[in-house]
């Protein structure tokens, strides 16, 4: 499997695959090929629960092709629990900002034609 396919497979199980640098310990999303901090190429796979809180988001009403049928929907940047990592994804069933205060607990729940799916917990 490619790097992207591996991340997708874990996302489908509600998990987040990450890469921990074996030299300096810095944690990355698993699409990293070299360490951001020390430039090392050695990584250990760490599988996280995919839980976190909403760092920021938007509710999209004018969508790119293929997403019109889902509007309105949220694009969310999730702060992953107990890490400095963030990951973006698609959040269904959000219509107004009142539905999603910044800081709302949320979790990766899958992957499909809407990319990585993140849902409120």
């Amino acid at each position: 499997m490619t790097i992207e396919e591996q991340l997708i497979e874990y996302a489908k199980q509600g998990k987040l695959l990450t890469h921990k640098c074996t030299d300096c310990g810095f944690l990355h999303l698993s699409t990293a090929y070299y360490c951001l901090k020390c430039g090392s190429k050695g990584f250990e796979d760490i599988v996280l629960e995919g839980t976190g809180s909403v760092a920021t988001y938007t509710i999209i009403t004018v969508a790119p092709a293929g997403f019109e049928k889902y509007t309105p929907y949220a694009f969310v940047v999730l702060q992953v629990d107990n890490t400095d990592l963030r990951i973006s994804g698609f959040m269904p069933n959000i219509t107004t900002p009142d539905d999603l205060p910044v800081g709302t607990k949320a979790k990766i729940t899958g992957f499909d034609d809407r990319g990585i799916i993140i849902e409120k917990q």
Binding site: I59, A63, A65, I87, S88, T96, P97, R114
Partner: protein, 387 residues
Amino acid sequence: MTFVEKVCVLGAGSTKYGKLSESIADITTQASVSAIESAKISPKDIQASYISNVFGVADKQVHLGPVLMSRLGIPEKPSLTIESACGSGSVSFREAYANVAAGFYDCLLVTGVEKVTHTGTEWTTTYFAYCSDFFYEGQAGASFPGLFASMARAYLTEFDATEEDFAAVAVKNHDNGVLNPKAHMQKKITIDDVMNSAVVASPLKLFDCCPFSDGASSVILCSEKFAKENGGDYIEVIGSGRGGSPAALQGREHLTTIPSTKIAVADAYKMAGITAKDIDFAEVHDCFTIAEIVDTEDLGFFDKGQGVQAVREGRTKLNSDISINPSGGLKSKGHPIGATGVGQVVEVFDQLTGKAGARTVKDAKIGLTHNFGATGASCAVHIFQSV
């Protein structure tokens, strides 16, 4: 770095920005001809061209360089097309700058162009999303308004700012754009107009967003020696900087700062030997209202979180503390993405050579251009001085 030559902008020209009926090849040539005529040179003086363009495929013409050079009667001269999303124009300008500064060429044509409006809102929105880190952003339904709306939401959460403050940026830029005959949106608007416009990606509304535009802009870049011996009015490039940021917003340490801007401007200030306080006016990348506020902080004009206060107090209006986007900016002048970075240089050239008419920044000597690609994943900043 050793610079062999001082680099000058000798001539500049743009088509009107907006919905244009001509082909991409036609508008590319029109802008180039206007720059050549402004420079008072012959196409035969041009040694090579740098073309910035992103979506040529949408108008059935990639490999624009040879087409342009053939129409200019110099098909034997080399050309290069550069893509760096919405920052293509400034990146192309920078590459041309480096070649003249190094003494490799004496006279270059730099032309930026985009032709997309005929594809319609849905497909333009879709094409633009291809400029994101697609695996994480575009694939999850993020549009560009959506990505900047995410920055806007973070700014509203972190700082004392309101959606009306964002709207004030749009109102200010439209006030300037009304004075620019080449602008796409030559129309005054009010805070209420912005607040009542349709939501595109909350908290951003239609009038928080720049329009999709067609257009082309062009400049002649040359050595000081060439400018003195061959041409008309010219200005000097005194600073040039480039920088990068994590491609996806999620990878940024702060969601309300664009790292590439800070890196690029630090380099440009250092080269010019000046600070933010020395800038008389700036053309900054206001693709969305929130972007201009973030830009003015990242460029060092205001402290972090204070950009919004500066807008509230009118300190960025034409001929106030620092005139931001006297051209109308991307918001009102328009945003033909491959042309924008070059178009900013056209505005600075016009300002510093007394050709800016009713939107002239009074007594201006030093102008700055700031242009980035996508959400600021790539950026170039240039500083210019009148001679």
